[in-house]
């Protein structure tokens, strides 16, 4: 891109071709630099966070600009360097948080509000990242075919008695990689590999679809037990638009695994402040807002995620189906650090093949 000037001399046509582009470009770049703004690069779908962002703007008058893409935004922040327009980076998982912090693209936030709102296991000891919501990776069991107490732990999924009866999405999906990462942290790599092989041997079908699709498969009799994140249950059982999903949800029980030992595996969605944030004050305000009572309540209401903030009233649905359970308090950083190992284990046992 260095030599637009030079081209001019060479040919009128060249000039035309290059100058046709920025005409439209000028229209777009506008929004980044006005006074009261905060800019988010988000790896979470925009429609999931829109209600909270709107509430923030309504309350503070600060405009929130968003770009959503599941991948590539960390690289964008990295290359844009000190000129990046991103103030905050939102993620649906600990994995990308771990990557962006490790690349040194974040900065610590010293906020008593965040410290008060977010329990210590859901934020970085060095204040580089903060969890906003949690969810558990649970086992959905068929009401018809699985008796209570028949399956109790993640480890049980590898028990040969479930041969041909287990469903899950791709082993490479970040939620499953986190779970495998926690198995590696608990049992060591060799044991985790054995476990993964056992689960693989029990699969009813090649891993496919999202978490909802697994519950649906239980309903359809493809399998008896399935792995899935907890909030999908809420999304299905309240789905007036697709009533068949209510049927899927009604066909399963929710099992929070490993209640007798370490507890159910937890994931977070979270946020970081970029190192070169231009609207730092506004960005921290938004972080505090998202960890505050209103946004936390909305997360539970709208997305059926668990609020991180202690004492936030959960929705009645969460209370009814996902009341008290024991959550694994394993360090999320450990789980994230095991992600690459987990991914290789998935390859090694041919989990997705």
């Amino acid at each position: 891109m260095l030599s637009f000037g030079k081209i001019k001399r060479f040919s009128a046509l060249t000039l035309l071709s290059v100058s046709a582009l920025p005409m439209v470009a000028a229209v777009s770049a506008a929004s980044a630099n006005a006074a009261e703004e905060v800019n988010i690069y988000s790896a979470r779908q925009a429609f999931l966070i829109k209600p909270m962002l709107k509430a923030f703007t309504d309350e503070t008058g600060i405009k929130v600009n968003v770009i959503f893409a599941k991948k590539g935004l960390i690289e964008r922040i990295e290359n844009e360097g000190q000129n990046t327009n991103a103030d905050l980076f939102l993620t649906p998982d600990i994995g990308p948080i771990y990557d962006i912090v490790n690349k040194g693209l974040t900065q610590a936030v010293d906020s008593p509000v965040l410290e008060k709102n977010i329990p210590s296991q859901y934020r970085d000891p060095d204040d580089q990242w903060f969890g906003l919501t949690t969810r558990s990776r649970i086992i959905y069991t068929s009401k018809e075919r699985v008796k209570e107490g028949e399956i109790k732990t993640y480890e049980d999924l590898a028990d040969p008695k479930w041969k041909g009866k287990v469903c899950t999405r791709s082993g490479k999906h970040t939620y499953n990689l986190s779970l495998v990462g926690s198995m590696i942290a608990t049992h060591g790599e060799a044991e985790a590999e054995k476990w993964l092989e056992g689960v693989k041997a029990n699969l009813a079908r090649k891993p496919q679809g999202n978490d909802r699709a697994q519950v649906k498969a239980v309903k359809e009799g493809v399998c008896d037990v399935a792995l899935g994140n907890s909030y999908y249950f809420g999304k299905m059982i309240t789905n007036a638009k697709k009533p068949e999903q209510i049927g899927w949800a009604q066909s399963v029980n929710l099992l929070f695994p490993n209640q007798a030992d370490r507890g159910a595996h937890m994931g977070i969605s979270g946020v970081v402040l970029t190192k070169h944030s231009k609207n730092k004050d506004n960005a921290i305000k938004l972080m505090e807002f998202l960890s505050g009572p209103m946004a936390q309540y909305m997360y539970a209401q709208e997305n059926f995620e668990f609020p991180v903030r202690p004492g936030t009233p959960k929705s009645s649905l969460l209370d009814q189906y996902m009341g008290d359970f024991k959550a694994d308090d394993m360090s999320l950083a450990t789980i994230a650090a095991n992600r690459s190992k987990a991914s290789k284990l998935v390859d090694k046992v041919g989990f997705d093949n």
Binding site: S11, A12, A25, K71, V222
Partner: protein, 570 residues
């Protein structure tokens, strides 16, 4: 015009075209074209160079792990996918193109344009649609269960759409139009004379197809096939949804799950090398073929009149891909869009559709201009190393979109930060990001990604103009630019138009690069659809998907007209 200094051609064994035009050299203007083309080609090649550069810095060596575990699967899956999609696309595209061009049967006129319509449907959308229809809970299996009284999954067997075979079918249904389009253009160009000759020599319709039309259309089919192959190899949406583990799955896994962008870039580079080998093999295969059209090629052709079974069979052959690739997805999306119209419609849609339209139109014009500069310069200065550079610049098409986006981010950000630090140093002002995160970045990515389409289209039209035209024009005193505008452009108008329309539709559907490179609060129809579709919320995304198809229809219909007209007006 300067004196024509006859430059010795460095490569003595060049085909006649090369030798002839370079003898006309007016050194200055040729040099200008040459350097313009070189600069443009290098700019367009930057993202691919960036990816190669990235591949030098893997966070760890990925290959021993891959080779010991999933690499064989990735490679065999990718090969089967490419052969399957390519083969099926040729089967559908060539047979239907020949039928509607050379034969008469019921519905022929409608099929001429209808067969192009599946091109407007994005591959990921057709994948969602057919999964929705054919899965266990879908209407097809539901009806079967009710009809036969089956009650559960275990009672019967039904083919699973989410398989390698399913992915091949889905991709072929929306990609065959590339081959249809190019094969049809070839058939039209060669048709009248040669077909007449073949009939005089006693060929039946089918013999004439096998022995005359097919060999002559081979260059066109080959170009179409290479586009289909590159689209297939860079696809992620469909294969991911169908849990098919191709090389692009490996790229994203290495990048995102193993935090190894360098390793991912290595797999992408490996894929590019693979594509280069394929294309080179094909070129070697037809290196000796060279075809120019004589002036009386556009006589109205007499079609074979098909009757009885042959006619029905032809109609059916054309009807099937049209129904499966367009009618069914269109109706299902239409149904969902209608049912959810009140919840999903908003004023926003107009802006988003406008974004898509403007971006795609600008990108189409830009890609064709760049393609024209490259193709014409190559014609003027053959054998000066431009060919290699241009081929390299065309490789962007084979990169998965998200990887291409990273390839765009790197040089753009480097430029922005370079300018910024210079300005800070000398003038004490910060210019911030000038190009990164603007629509220009998105447009640039579109041009890089789809240049292969525009360039291929322009180049093949240009190649059909006999060099005697250039000589005549130049000897009458026109310079290179005037020759291009007054002689070539009118002749290749159809080719440019085709290229522009195809790029337009491709841009309407483009997703991964747009997602990553776009400015704040900016959506195209594709990104809007994606945020719901990626959560398997087909109903919410249906209206947007329908709009992509509808806006895409306009150019597709124009395209079909321009192909048909090229026959009449020339």
């Amino acid at each position: 015009m300067s004196s024509s200094s006859t430059q010795p051609t460095p490569m003595a064994h060049k085909p006649p075209l090369a030798a002839d035009t370079s003898n006309l050299v007016s050194t200055d203007s040729h040099r200008r074209w040459f350097f313009s083309a070189l600069v443009v080609a290098v700019l367009v090649a930057l993202p691919v160079v960036s990816v190669f550069y990235l591949s030098l810095f893997p966070s760890e060596n990925i290959w021993s792990h891959l080779a010991a575990t999933v690499l064989p699967t990735y490679i065999s899956t990718t090969l089967i996918l490419m052969i399957g999609v390519g083969g099926l696309s040729i089967l559908i595209g060539v047979s239907t193109a020949w039928l509607v061009t050379m034969c008469n049967f019921p519905g022929r006129k409608m099929f001429e344009w209808a067969l192009l319509l599946p091109f407007a449907v994005p591959a990921y959308v057709i994948a969602y649609v057919y999964t929705d229809l054919l899965e266990y809970a879908g209407p097809v299996q539901g009806a079967l269960r009710r009809f036969f009284g089956w009650s559960s999954y275990q009672d019967y067997w039904f083919p699973d759409i989410r398989t390698l075979g399913g992915a091949i079918l889905m991709l072929a249904l929306v990609l065959y139009p590339y081959i249809y389009m190019l094969a049809r253009a070839s058939f039209l160009e060669h048709s009248a004379n040669i077909q007449a000759a073949s009939r005089t020599l006693g060929c039946t319709a089918f013999q004439s197809f096998l022995r005359v039309s097919l060999p002559m259309a081979r260059p066109g089919i080959a170009v179409g096939l290479s586009l289909v192959s590159m689209e297939t190899i860079n696809d992620f949406g469909t294969v991911d949804y169908f849990a098919v583990k191709s090389l692009s799955a490996g790229i994203y896994d290495t990048w995102l799950n193993m935090s190894n962008l360098g390793g991912a870039a290595q797999i992408a580079s490996f894929m590019l090398v693979f594509v280069v080998i394929l294309i080179t093999l094909e070129r070697i295969g037809r290196a000796r073929q060279k075809q120019f059209n004589s002036s009386d090629r556009f006589k109205t052709l007499e079609r074979f009149e098909l009757r009885g079974w042959a006619a029905y069979f032809s109609s059916l052959t054309c009807l099937l891909p049209f129904i499966a690739g367009f009618v069914i997805p269109f109706l299902l999306l239409g149904k969902y869009a209608y049912e959810n119209f009140n919840e999903t419609w908003s004023e926003e849609f107009l802006i988003i559709a406008g974004n898509s339209f403007l971006l795609s139109a600008t990108a189409a014009v830009a890609a064709c201009l760049v393609g024209l500069i490259l193709a014409y310069s190559k014609r003027l200065s053959p054998g000066r190393g431009l060919v290699g550079v241009v081929r390299f610049a065309n490789l962007g098409y084979a990169l998965p979109g998200a990887v291409l986006a990273i390839g765009v981010i790197i040089p753009f950000a480097a430029f922005d930060n370079g300018v910024d630090s210079l300005m800070r140093e000398y003038f004490g002002v910060s210019t911030g990001l000038l190009l990164s995160g603007t629509i220009f970045a998105v447009l640039f990515a579109y041009v890089v990604r789809f240049l292969a389409v525009a360039h291929g289209s322009v180049e093949s039209s240009l190649a059909k103009i006999t060099p005697t035209m250039d000589m005549a024009s130049r000897s009458l005193g026109l310079n290179t630019f005037q020759t291009l505008v007054k002689v070539h452009l009118p002749l290749i108008r159809g080719g440019i138009m085709t290229g522009a329309l195809v790029v337009f539709v491709d841009c309407m559907k483009e997703l991964p690069a747009t997602l990553i490179l776009r400015p704040f609060n900016f959506d195209t129809l594709a990104t809007y659809v994606y945020q719901y579709a990626s959560d398997e919320m087909l109903e919410e995304s249906a209206l947007g998907a329908l709009l992509i198809v509808l806006v895409g229809l306009i150019p597709v219909i124009l395209l079909s007209r321009s192909i048909a007209e090229s026959q009449r007006t020339n």
